[in-house]
Symmetry: C3
């Protein structure tokens, strides 16, 4: 079940990446690259930082084919995309939680400490979007937006707490339900983390 | 022969990196860093993603000395550089194809699948320029410019196809000729990949 | 003694990272992330490039707890921070030299060549700040500012030269004293590396 979720998630993330590339007027190579980085970048950052080789897409090049295909398909159906915005918000939320749980599982299999399991889940859930925004020369949105990263941290914590008591499968289901609910509520009611504003200062 | 090409290519790439640093008014450390990242960054990204250690410049620090030296030499001869623009476009095209072939060879030696061989060649050819543009705070030019990345993809494919039939040396020569020709034609006639423009949308 | 210096240094760097996040109006997750990347990013880049696993913060998650805590504490005491500017400049200089020496030690333990030891020290000292500026969408300040990176290069060279003659401990003390002095003099008298300015050119 997590594998199917993963495929849905990388497809959805690739499509959001392609739209970002389109906002910057990139060419089709740029679209394919940004789509793939958005979908697979979180897992790649995690694997490189943890020394977990080979990377997912090196072992399974079909994932890369899927993200490139999804990115290019987005160009073809760009007109329809704005009517699917709500669907994509849900798929994106699902992807966030699914990526986070997968990141936790990788760290657990490597026998890492609970703090690093949570970091691994959070990196997997969020770094794809951060890389997309760096390549598109934006301040990463995720660092300024409604609870996106917080959902990853809380989902990772939830999965980590539930797993020893309920087993892998039920922990996954509960985390998915809770994370998805939290993210959709945050979007609906525009919940935000408190922000920190420090006045810019030319001497600073 | 590929080694000599490689040395020419990293020198040329380091010099284009130094010019980018100069456009941003960086200090000499910045010039040396951007020169080295432009020349050696593509191979480094490839090696980190594939887990191929040690990195080239760690094993051969003389490459690093060459890129730092080429970067600083560019500062000294900056006035002459604008008269050499055509020469540099050719050297840059040669470097692109040479880097790409080297990236393919590394992946082939690691026994990776054909799709990853092409990705490895493309990353090696293009990531140096992408990192240069990120450090200089630009949207990577390569994602918007005439066929640069496409030449890398097609060169990698050409090399991969020719190698089993013609042997390593002839595959290299054919790829170099074809890639160089394609890149120079693209520059001459301003060929471009189709771009994807998605209207910016504050609610998007 | 180097361990204590290291803890002081990552705390100081995390706090400067948090202030950068505040200048961009990031949320608390962004503050914690930028704080951690600023403090631990230099060592992480070095470890990934040298293939030196596991990374420091994966082995010692308490470092990560310290940088997240220091980042969030900065939000609480932001009003006081501007009166502590001089203290922070000294702590930051101390951190720069301490990070650089640690980077040299890692490369020496791995048996790498002197050139790579200096590169390793410089990367450890400077990459945290470069990553902070990329995530905040600035041209890295370090590439334009008073002798910051040069202090790292010279400190690394000093440590490398003194160590075989004076032993590890005395080499550390001399490097700290010399690097700190150089950095503070550079700040006081606004010393700068010569910069390279190459006119921007739409055809370039």
């Amino acid at each position: 079940m997590l594998s199917i979720l993963y495929l849905v998630a990388i497809t959805a993330e690739a499509m959001t990446g392609a739209l970002s590339a389109g906002r910057r007027g990139m060419d089709l190579f740029g679209v394919a690259l940004i789509a793939s980085v958005t979908a697979l970048g979180g897992g790649s950052v995690r694997d490189v930082l943890l020394g977990h080789y080979p990377l997912g897409w090196v072992k399974h090049p079909e994932y890369l084919a899927l993200t490139v295909g999804a990115g290019l398909a987005t160009v073809a159906i760009a007109r329809v995309m704005r009517y699917l915005r709500r669907l994509f918000l849900v798929l994106d939320a699902l992807g966030l939680v699914a990526f986070t749980v997968i990141g936790c599982q990788v760290a657990l299999e490597m026998g890492l400490s609970p703090a690093i399991v949570i970091v691994s889940g959070t990196l997997t859930g969020t770094c794809g979007g951060i890389l997309r925004d760096i390549l598109c020369n934006d301040v990463p949105l995720i660092l300024r937006r409604e609870l996106y990263a917080s959902v990853a941290v809380l989902s990772a914590g939830c999965y980590l707490l539930c797993r020893p008591w309920l087993g892998e499968e039920q922990a996954l289901l509960i985390t998915l339900a809770a994370g998805l609910l939290l993210r959709l509520l945050a979007l609906r009611f525009n919940w935000q983390m408190p922000t920190f504003t420090y006045p810019d200062d030319p001497h600073g």
